[in-house]
């Protein structure tokens, strides 16, 4: 007996983008369900600490300034039509969140307070202490409870399904708690399953960030874009890679080298510690490489901010420094280093979240949508500004949800045969049937993570990246043979981790391919063998298509420029 469910819109992922999309689709009158491999409040949106940007015009800010700084931050790779929408609609979304119940920090006059964030001259980052992501996520989940949206919790999606016309028709997934496989039919599927941080080791990302949504869309025929653009956050803890929010520098913390100098003076004399993240991370890595670091780190110094401010506005990182590094931020500077943090690239979408082009300029999958870190508009281009990711999830999550809801009204349910469930069951059975070897999923994953960090980190070159590409291909071969030792049906996390690794290897392959293809340095993609930005040849996006059984296919799209011609980027 094959189980199947049927909805107008199915949202994969229940972080901020997924919840926002689901609520917006629900408001169009569509039937909506969310499918997620963890409970919604366990999603990685939690980890966003610092805040959410918006230029509120009634307090003298201009959305054009926010948009320009986003474009400059992207090293002119961001598509400016998308950036304009982001900046223009930010204010209404901040207010909508506040009305839903987010407890934003206030000024003395009772209005919303702001702090400064990197790459921006004005304080336009709204925040809830330093756990803004968590505060937003819990409120959106409250709204989902209020709307009684069905949530399929702890279900793992195996693949996208399409009808005979190539129209997206839902997903096949299995329930982690029971192991049963089911078909979820939908007229529109929204991929909002987050980033792929764990492809790198270490990473600030949660262990669940394994690029499932990105790989599923890719295998389903949607192109990935800007995959070479990986953000390294300037302030992470060495070892495990836990994040210390940019809010610390936003509130005025210094970065010091081993000689006690505020080294950012050399690299970004105007913006100093608040230059954009790619610039600060590179500066730190140069200091470390040239011997002015301390055990592979530089120092983040918060002492002069005072105990009261640290406890009130940086409470989460104060606790984090204490429990994870045994350091009291009010007494001592803390060692930090650049660490993998965010994926600018992802599943290519238009400004309504569609993963296909109405004008036919690029191929995609009709009926498939994406939002949040899994998606690539491209909004963040070569480098995302801090506090723009939360904004991205709510603005483009909302737009994707609404568009998907309206789209579903115009469609009938695609015809999908029950055979896809059997295929899903067989793929799991096939994994269980593999013969035991010495190899393990964990070992392959660690090797992938180390390889990516070594060869596709802050500084890259042809030789290193080509080597990484070969290594990844070898790891793929090993994955094809590795056995799963736990063969149980109930809550089999060994199986989940093996499937996640499968997705991650696809992500790793496309990151390396994108980076090898882009023979220039732009944003976070810095090649020591091609030191300069090359607008003549590379003011364009790299698209990668999956080809079953063959090597990926490359394509490109020009950057969409509306009003800001590329300039030399100085902070």
């Amino acid at each position: 007996m094959v189980t199947s469910y049927e909805y107008d819109v199915l949202v994969m992922g229940a972080g901020l983008a997924g919840l926002r999309a689901a609520l917006a689709a629900h408001q169009t009158g569509a039937t909506v369900a969310i499918i997620t491999k963890v409970h919604p409040v366990r999603s990685h949106s939690n980890a966003a600490q610092g805040g959410i940007n918006a230029a509120l015009t009634d307090r003298g800010d201009k959305w054009e300034e926010h948009a320009f700084e986003t474009v400059k931050g992207s090293d002119y790779l961001g598509d400016q039509d998308a950036v304009e929408i982001l900046a223009q609609e930010a204010g209404q979304d901040i207010l909508a969140l506040e009305h839903m119940g987010v407890i934003f920090n206030r000024n003395e006059d009772g209005r919303l307070g702001t702090r400064r964030f990197g790459g921006q001259k004005r304080a336009r980052t709204f925040f809830v202490s330093d756990f803004t992501g968590q505060a937003l996520l819990h409120v959106l989940y409250e709204q989902a409870m209020k709307a009684r949206l069905p949530v399929f919790e702890e279900w793992f999606v195996l693949s996208l399904v399409k009808d005979e016309h190539g129209q997206c028709g839902g997903v096949v997934a299995f329930e982690i708690r029971t192991g049963r496989v089911a078909l979820f039919k939908a007229k529109a599927v929204i991929i909002a399953a987050g980033g792929l941080g764990r492809v790198f080791e270490p990473s600030t990302n949660a262990l669940i960030c394994t690029g499932d949504g990105i790989a599923i869309a890719y295998r389903g025929g949607a192109p990935l874009m800007d995959m070479e653009m990986v953000q390294y956050h300037p302030t992470t803890l060495r070892g495990k890679g836990l994040l210390l929010s940019e809010a610390a520098r936003g509130e005025g913390a210094y970065l010091l080298n081993a000689e006690g100098e505020r080294f950012m003076e050399q690299y970004a004399p105007n913006m100093m510690e608040l230059a954009s993240r790619d610039v600060v991370s590179r500066a730190e890595q140069i200091e470390i490489n040239e011997g002015r670091g301390i055990n592979g780190c530089v120092l983040l110094d918060c002492r002069h901010l005072g105990k009261a401010l640290i406890r009130e506005r940086l409470s989460q990182i104060f606790e984090e420094a204490k429990s994870f590094a045994n350091i009291d931020l009010t007494e001592e500077p803390i060692p930090v280093c650049p660490g993998m943090h965010y994926m600018m690239g992802g599943v290519k979408t238009d400004v309504e979240g569609r993963c296909w082009d109405l004008a036919g300029g690029w191929r995609g999958v009709p009926g498939l949508f994406a939002a949040g870190e899994a998606a690539c508009l491209s909004l963040h281009g070569g480098n995302r500004l801090g506090a723009n990711s939360l904004l991205d999830t709510v603005v483009f999550g909302r737009r994707a949800g609404r568009c998907a809801g309206e789209y579903a009204k115009t469609r009938s349910q695609p015809r999908i045969g029950d055979g896809v469930v059997k295929d899903g069951e067989n793929s799991i059975k096939g994994l269980f049937a593999r013969l035991d070897t010495d190899d393990t999923v964990a070992r392959i994953r660690h090797e992938m993570g180390r390889t990516m960090t070594e060869s596709l980190g802050v500084f890259r070159d042809q030789e290193g990246m080509a080597h990484a590409q070969q290594t990844i291909a070898g790891l793929r071969e090993r994955w094809n043979r590795v056995a799963i030792h736990d063969k149980g049906q109930v809550f089999n996390t060994s199986l989940v981790r093996a499937l996640e690794l499968d997705f991650m290897l696809d992500c790793a392959e496309t990151i390396a391919l994108g980076a090898l293809t882009r023979t220039e340095s732009r944003g976070a993609h810095f090649r020591t063998d091609c030191l300069h930005r090359d607008d003549e040849h590379w003011l364009k996006h790299i698209l990668i298509y999956h080809r079953p059984g063959g090597s990926p296919q490359l394509d490109s799209l020009p950057v969409r420029i509306t009003r800001w011609e590329p300039q030399v980027r100085v902070y």
């Binding site: 409040v41 366990r42 920090n105 206030r106 202490s129 968590q134 669940i208 429990s323």
Partner: protein, 317 residues
């Protein structure tokens, strides 16, 4: 450092599914958390060891479990802080909820209780054009409660829940408080009325475990006490709980010590015949053994009760 982890395992698919303890020895480092150790065990020793975990930074709330008898987050607990005694570190799933497999519990009931308090903002009037104006102090106060990550640690170790499964529990009550204390919310009196029923805010026995084990310092029990005070303040219809509180304070103010029979009578009401009748066997046994406490007019105030009354006056001022 060689450390022994004594982990409670449970595999529902085994022939006779029974929980059992299994020991694992591992070399740990100073910086290791219990979660690091559990992940290393599953990666290098036993792939089937099952645990929920994600953020590693005490923000997602996935890895709630009991370590050496108390609920906590495995990712926030340093191994080095536990092994001074040299004994094995005991790791068990959370209490007060069914176990699915090993350290993974079923939190369906937890979330049902959270839903029970209608955990979403119910604004007083129409939405303002801009943001709601609210004092920074009120908002800062709320962020303390909003810090709750719904990990379930407080519910796991709640002594009241252990004997009273209907109790809505500390996490849901802290969540309810978050809305009652929100100046933007317009439903505080209906929320308090709903909590003023059996299983609601008066069922907490004030054991303080929820405060003790909370990894985010939400202070659930303190929030429950504030809910009770607000309930009395707003005059929600009296219940055993609120009458107990009021009678307790009143008796102490007048007598300086507790008149227990009177407390029972005033809590349940003299006309609550069924309850009064149920006390009868206890009263008879007390009479037989000559231990019936004096009550009412026979129960004298302590010498110097004036000083106690003065304290009350000062507190009321």
């Amino acid at each position: 450092m060689l450390t022994t982890f004594r982990i409670r395992r449970f595999n529902p698919e085994s022939e006779s599914p029974q929980p059992y303890f299994e020991d694992y020895q591992l070399v740990t480092e100073r910086s290791d958390t219990v979660l690091d150790a559990l992940i290393r065990i599953r990666e290098t020793v036993d792939e089937s060891l099952t645990v929920r975990c994600s953020c590693r930074g005490a923000i997602c709330g996935s890895c709630g479990m009991r370590i050496n008898g108390h609920a906590t987050l495995a990712c926030k607990t340093k191994v080095a802080s536990l092994i001074s005694s040299g004994d094995a570190i005991q790791v068990e799933p959370m209490n007060n909820m069914p176990v699915i497999k090993d350290l993974v519990t079923d939190m369906t009931g937890f979330w049902e209780k959270v839903r029970q308090v209608q955990p979403w903002l119910q604004p007083a009037g129409p939405e303002p054009e801009g943001e709601y104006l609210a004092s920074p102090d009120a908002m800062n106060h709320l962020t303390g409660v909003m810090g709750c990550i719904m990990c379930g640690a407080c519910v796991s170790d709640c002594a009241a829940l252990e004997v009273n499964a209907d109790f809505v529990g500390p996490a849901a009550l802290a969540k309810a408080y978050r809305f009652v204390a929100d100046p933007r919310d317009g439903s505080s009196s209906s929320r308090l009325t709903a909590l003023n029923t059996p299983g609601g805010m008066w069922d907490c026995t004030r054991c303080m475990e929820c405060i003790e084990v909370c990894p985010k310092e939400v202070g659930a029990m303190d929030r429950i006490m504030t809910l009770r005070a607000k309930g009395i303040e707003q005059g929600v219809p009296s219940t055993c709980g609120s009458r107990h509180t009021e009678a307790f304070a009143d008796i102490i103010e007048r007598k300086g010590r507790l008149d227990e029979p009177m407390l029972a009578v005033r809590t349940f009401g003299l006309t609550n015949f069924r309850q009064m009748f149920s006390f009868l066997p206890m009263v008879i046994r007390a009479v037989v053994r000559g231990k019936l406490p004096k009550s009412g007019p026979l129960f004298r105030a302590i010498p110097g009760v004036d000083r106690i009354r003065r304290l009350f006056r000062r507190a009321k001022e």
